[in-house]
């Protein structure tokens, strides 16, 4: 299993180089050329892969089924969006040197305090991690301390993202209301529309994904990672042995939220918009299905799941727009009924059963909470 992770990380790093090269330096008539539209699309998929990986840490390894991970993703995205808005400067429709267009439109006179500092990239970069991380920490602190678990926790996380959805829809929140933040011009001085910038963003996203993969491999193989799995499979027993279950959970949940925030920050410049729709509970549940399809409790699984489900989504919404939700719904039902370990988990199990070659038995297969 560890080998699989290393192979995947190497593969992703290779793609990080290959796609920009094939896009920028291979002539368009060559069969190896990657068309321009594909680069941000693939970049978007990789962001979703990071997000699915983040959820896998919480759900697949620690048993925290969060139905609100979209909230952390969107918060990271908003932090990045705020930086990009400040970069527009006088090139906006109203050409106001400080205020973004929507504030001028709403007749605001000065920048709200929480927009200060977002003209600097380093500040925005810290906020991308700090805001989701802090929210997850505070939320997790309260939730895990009072032993809110299982479906209760899932429902409460869903309420969290729903509350944020409502909040960000409000115009007087100062985040662009319904329309969100869009119409970005450049990032770190580079034109955000330029193909070279997009290629670099793609490469950065892929490298970060590979880095996260290696990092999580380290985390889950560590002692802490083993305790996480113990918490997932038998929370009470782990507590009785003497571990501080809530601390372990809090670590997994917060790290996962920070990763989701980074995914959101990478997503926004490539897609060019962030709006409150990203907070919708349906989005967050979709993340869960990516992870489930690929295989929770494996590190490569969520990445494969995110890529597979999203490619399927792109295909179906273009070819049979009416069918996509039916397919997605059927996917939810079928995966939980027939493929509870996901693609990678099932394959690994199948490989392990073959007697010929000795492979590591994966520490996966989240025991069904049969103890109840």
């Amino acid at each position: 299993m560890r080998r699989l992770t290393y192979i995947a990380a190497a593969l992703i790093a290779a793609i990080a180089l290959l796609v920009p090269v094939l896009n920028l330096w291979v002539p368009p008539d060559s069969p190896f050329h990657v068309p321009d539209y594909l680069v941000p699309l693939l970049g978007k998929y990789l962001c979703f892969a990071i997000l699915a990986l983040a959820l896998d840490l919480a759900w697949g390894y620690c048993g925290i089924l969060s139905l609100g991970h979209g909230a952390f993703f969107a918060l990271g995205g908003y932090a990045m969006g705020m930086y990009l808005m400040r970069q527009i400067g006088t090139r906006g429709v109203y050409a106001h040197p400080v205020l973004p267009d929507f504030m001028v439109f709403l007749n605001w006179k000065e920048l709200p305090w929480y927009w200060y500092g977002f003209d600097m990239f380093w500040f925005a970069a810290i906020m991308v991690m700090l805001v989701p991380g802090l929210l997850a920490f505070v939320f997790g602190w309260f939730a895990f301390r009072s032993r809110v678990t299982g479906v209760y926790l899932s429902i409460i996380t869903q309420a969290l993202t729903y509350a944020l959805l409502l909040a960000f829809f409000r115009n007087d929140m100062g985040f662009g209301g319904n329309n969100g933040l869009t119409d970005f011009k450049d990032i770190l001085g580079f034109n955000i529309q330029a193909q070279s910038t997009r290629a670099v963003l793609f490469a950065v996203t892929a490298l970060i994904l590979a880095g996260f993969l290696l990092m999580l491999q380290y985390v889950v193989m560590s002692r802490l990672g083993k305790v996480m799995v113990a918490v997932r499979d038998a929370e009470s027993r782990t507590r009785f042995i003497g571990y501080r279950v809530e601390h372990v959970k809090l670590f997994a949940f917060t790290l996962s939220a920070v990763m989701a925030g980074i995914a959101g920050a990478l997503y926004v410049p490539q897609v060019g918009i962030i709006n409150p729709g990203e907070f919708s509970p349906a989005n967050s549940i979709e993340i869960v299905i990516w992870t489930a399809v690929g295989g929770r409790g494996t590190l490569v699984g969520p990445i494969i799941g995110a890529l597979a489900v999203n490619s399927g989504k792109s295909y179906f919404t273009a070819a049979f727009p009416d069918m996509w939700l039916l397919v997605l719904g059927a996917l939810f039902v079928c995966v939980t009924l027939f493929l509870p370990k996901g693609i990678v988990g099932t394959l690994a199990e199948w490989m392990a059963k073959r007697p010929a070659k000795k492979t590591h038995v994966p520490a996966t297969a989240p025991a069904t909470e049969a103890a109840q």
Binding site: L65, F139, F142, A143, R145, S146, R147, V148, T149, G150, V151, Y152, S154, I155, I156, Q158, A159, L160, Y162, A163, L166, A167, F169, R170, E235, S236, P281, A282, I285, V288, I289, A292, D322, L325, L326, L328, G329, A330, L331, F332, V333, V335, T336, L337, P340, T368, E369, A370, A371, Q372
Partner: protein, 530 residues
């Protein structure tokens, strides 16, 4: 018999005489000059019947003309360069006339006021109670001291209590505008203040601006009325809260029992509500096209059908999705979410993505007022309906053997199984009942909400909050939680706005669950940490 004939003759004679009088005073309008017009208007307004009001109305609109040939006053409507003439007294059509054949009776602003008061006064004498009421309210709003004599006269004759009180109010408001003594004015203020209504506030505040005892009395009356109004608005908020709470109750009540019995969260719960609403829609469509007479019964017909449709769908879901995943609540949550996506999309493909119209039957439309509160019938029925569903479910749980078994399974599934209760069977039946209840909740909600494929989605989070807040497997908890959340929401709304109120409630619940992770009314007993 002879007497009867005599009376009849007298009547005819009298009415002919009256018509002659009327004709004369109408024609007088055409004869006098501008400064004599006021007198002529008042004379006319003093005449009985409906003609004066009609003539004065036409005069005010500038539709009253004099026919030059014989000096007859007529109502004229312009029609392509010529006028269609009508005799206001007989109502008879007099044919067309050229523009040069008639001349308009001109009025000025001072006269317009006189006309309005006079028209009000003359309508006060109308034999139709509704018209008198309307006239009294018009005078009340115009606050015209000139209408006082007419009001006094009308008050003396009035027998209808509703019209009478309207007249008294009109008289009080006219008195305040007149040069009456302070005592009279104070009495008038007292009359107005007694209504406690928002409508009298402008009248009183005009008086309060002046000086003297009347102004003081008016100020006091205003503050009193404002206090009463504050109470009424609180009562109105409570009512809105209860009505929102009953919506939440309907949506959440089924969720609470299955969660308690099976430890299962059914994300497709909202879609059962939606199916119920669409069943209502289909029933109404069939009734509209085939049996229009039955429209008022449509909801009653839809109730059992919605129960059936949703219960069957519930059994199907239980069989296919829930049963195989038993004991894995998180997987169940995901699988039922998938079911909800499929159901939504299926409905969208069959009925289209737009809202479908479900009509209110006649007994559920309109509104009535209690004091300063306005209560719509559909909300009232919804509250009663949700309480009825609650009561029915309560009886089912507490008075039937099925309910006993169900409660046993809720408290301790293994023990219940050990003493011979067929737990899978209880689970399936619970699921069917619960889905059926969600279906009939859909019938109720179709009366106040848009029937669209997303109908269920909009309630699902709120219903979960109710369940989490109230605790599972406890009907009273659900009732209290639904009503509390509804009322709190409506009380926060005026201060914080609808969206912020909702956010505050969500935050409150997230904090609340820290203290009471099992909800307000947690079941007592020993549990494995699940």
């Amino acid at each position: 018999m002879r007497r009867l004939i005599a009376a009849f003759l007298i009547l005819i004679f009298a009415s002919t005489a009256a018509v002659a009088d009327l004709r004369e005073s109408v024609n007088a309008l055409g004869k006098v000059k501008l400064d004599g017009l006021e007198e002529a208007i008042k004379t006319l307004a003093a005449q009985p019947g409906e003609v004066p009001a009609k003539v004065l109305g036409a005069l005010g609109e500038g539709d009253l003309y004099v026919r030059k040939s014989d000096g007859l006053v007529v109502i004229a409507e312009e029609a392509g360069g010529a006028f269609n003439l009508t005799d206001p007294v007989s109502g008879e059509e007099l044919g067309q006339a050229a523009k040069s054949d008639v001349s308009r009776i001109r009025i000025n602003n001072a006269l317009r006021r006189v006309i309005r008061a006079a028209a009000g006064g003359s309508a006060l004498a109308s034999p139709d109670a509704a018209k008198r009421l309307e006239a009294a309210q018009a005078v009340f709003k115009s606050r015209d001291a000139a209408a006082l004599p007419a009001l006094d006269e009308a008050l003396a004759k009035e027998t209808d209590p509703q019209v009478k009180s309207a007249l008294e109010l009109a008289r009080a408001s006219a008195l305040l505008a007149s040069s009456a003594t302070d005592e009279v004015k104070e009495a008038a203020i007292a009359t107005l203040a007694a209504t406690g209504s928002r409508d009298v506030l402008p009248i009183l505040s005009t008086t309060a601006e002046g000086s003297g005892p009347a102004a003081l009395a008016a100020q006091q009356a205003i503050s009193e009325i404002e206090t009463t109004l504050a109470y009424w608005s609180m009562a109105q908020n409570v009512w809105f809260g209860i009505s929102l709470g009953s919506v939440l109750l309907l949506a959440a009540i089924g969720l609470a029992i299955t969660f308690g019995v099976m430890g299962v969260i059914n994300m497709a719960h909202g879609e059962m509500v939606m199916l119920g609403a669409y069943t209502t829609f289909v029933v109404q469509e069939v009734i509209r096209t085939s049996f229009p007479g039955l429209f008022d019964w449509s909801l009653l017909i839809a109730l059992p059908l919605a129960f059936l449709v949703a219960a069957l769908m519930g059994i199907l879901i239980e069989r296919i999705v829930i049963r195989p995943l038993y004991g894995r609540p998180l997987e169940t949550l995901l699988a039922t979410w998938g079911v909800s996506l499929i159901l939504q999309q299926a409905i969208r493909m069959i009925f289209g993505p737009t809202n479908r119209e479900v009509g209110n039957p006649s007994w559920a439309s309109g509104a009535f007022e209690i004091g300063q509160m306005s209560i719509t019938y559909n909300r009232l029925w919804l509250v009663l309906f949700s309480l009825a569903v609650f009561a029915g479910l309560y009886l089912l749980l507490n008075k039937t053997s099925f309910g006993l078994q169900l409660r046993a399974v809720t408290q301790n599934r293994r023990m219940a199984s050990a003493i011979g209760i067929k737990t899978p069977w209880v689970g399936a039946l619970t699921f069917a009942v619960r889905s059926g209840i969600a279906g009939i909740a859909g019938v109720g909600l179709s009366q106040i909400d848009n029937v669209s494929p997303d109908l269920g989605q909009s309630y699902i989070i709120d219903s979960f909050m109710v369940v989490v807040f109230g605790g599972v497997g406890n009907l009273w908890g659900t009732l209290v939680a639904a009503m509390t959340l509804g009322i709190v929401n409506k009380f926060l709304e005026p201060f914080a706005g609808a969206v912020l109120a909702k956010i505050l409630v969500l935050v409150f619940i997230i904090l609340f669950i820290q203290k009471r992770p099992r909800g307000l009314f947690a079941l007592k007993g020993r549990f494995v940490d699940a």
